[in-house]
């Protein structure tokens, strides 16, 4: 069967993925009032992969024994994304 694109509500993760930090973003300090404020555009982001990330890769491809294999399915790991990515403005 053919695959068709959709934006139905089941893809809340897709919505979050887009609208939380993409498009036009105004830094918290600049919100409220812009009268008399000089605006500059910034672009700086650092992503840090942690040891935990590596371990989950090892688990995912079946390198490690059961002792470290948790119930990490895709959904859980997507939620855990915030923990492995630190964004610095």
């Amino acid at each position: 069967m053919a695959i068709q694109k959709s934006t139905d509500s089941s893809s809340l993760a897709e919505v979050i993925d887009r609208i939380l930090d993409k498009g036009i973003v105004i830094d918290l300090y600049a919100r409220i009032s812009l009268v008399g404020i000089e605006l500059i555009t910034i672009e700086a982001r650092v992503v840090i992969a942690s040891v935990d990330t590596w371990l989950r890769y090892a688990e995912a491809v079946g390198l490690l024994r059961d002792e470290v294999q948790g119930e990490i399915d895709l959904e859980t790991s997507e939620e855990g994304r915030g923990q492995e990515q630190l964004n610095f403005a």
Partner: protein, 253 residues
Amino acid sequence: MSMDQGVYLFGVIKADADFKQEKIKLDGNTTKTYTVPYKDQAMVVAQAPVKIYDPTRENLKTHQQVVAELMTYTTVIPMSFGNVLESDEDAEILIKRLYDKFKKIFPTIENKIEVGLKIIGNKDWMKEQAGNQEDLAKMKQALQDTKQSATHYDKMRAGEAAQKFVQGIHLDFEREVFRPLANIADAAKSNEVIGERMVLNASFLVDLSKEKEFDEKVNEFYEKWKDRTEFKYTGPWPAYNFIDIKIKAEDAS
């Protein structure tokens, strides 16, 4: 408790667009969308309290739906979630400052849609692939031969190797799937993969005249890979992935 009223921002459209006002629910309050024009551009806003908006399901949905609705009849440069200014005047200032930027952006996204394609490897297939890698197979054997549990160092080493392996698959998919699709698209972006089994996390800006061709190409890859991977093909979205403007007040850093 009453909070100061401000304007919540949804996105920038052309001022001559046939704007349709909408009644919306934002953070439990009912409000209406309207436009704040500046020259031939306009910010779509709604009156809402000045505060930090929690990304609740309802709020996210409202934001997405307003932008999606705009997209059905005009070109929209989307705002990110939760941006609120004090007054209409501020919204006008924002457009004024970014007017030239927006002017350049509009033609690049006109009559185009963003689509997303995530490909996630089946667990068994990933394991099988890993098993075919000599170094990983050796490492696995070594880890499982160890009488005592493996040291933290060993696990880390295995994990690092596994991540490299998965990234290798990611690169394969970028070459085999992403590039041919990118050739049809006007713009394409391969985002960082999320989680351990995602092998592609891409966004494409597709001209409406090429939408069908693009869909067909995605299906071609889907047919080839559907037994070994899961495809998440989404859209049409506003061009979030292709508009990246971060605004900061100069003294705030």
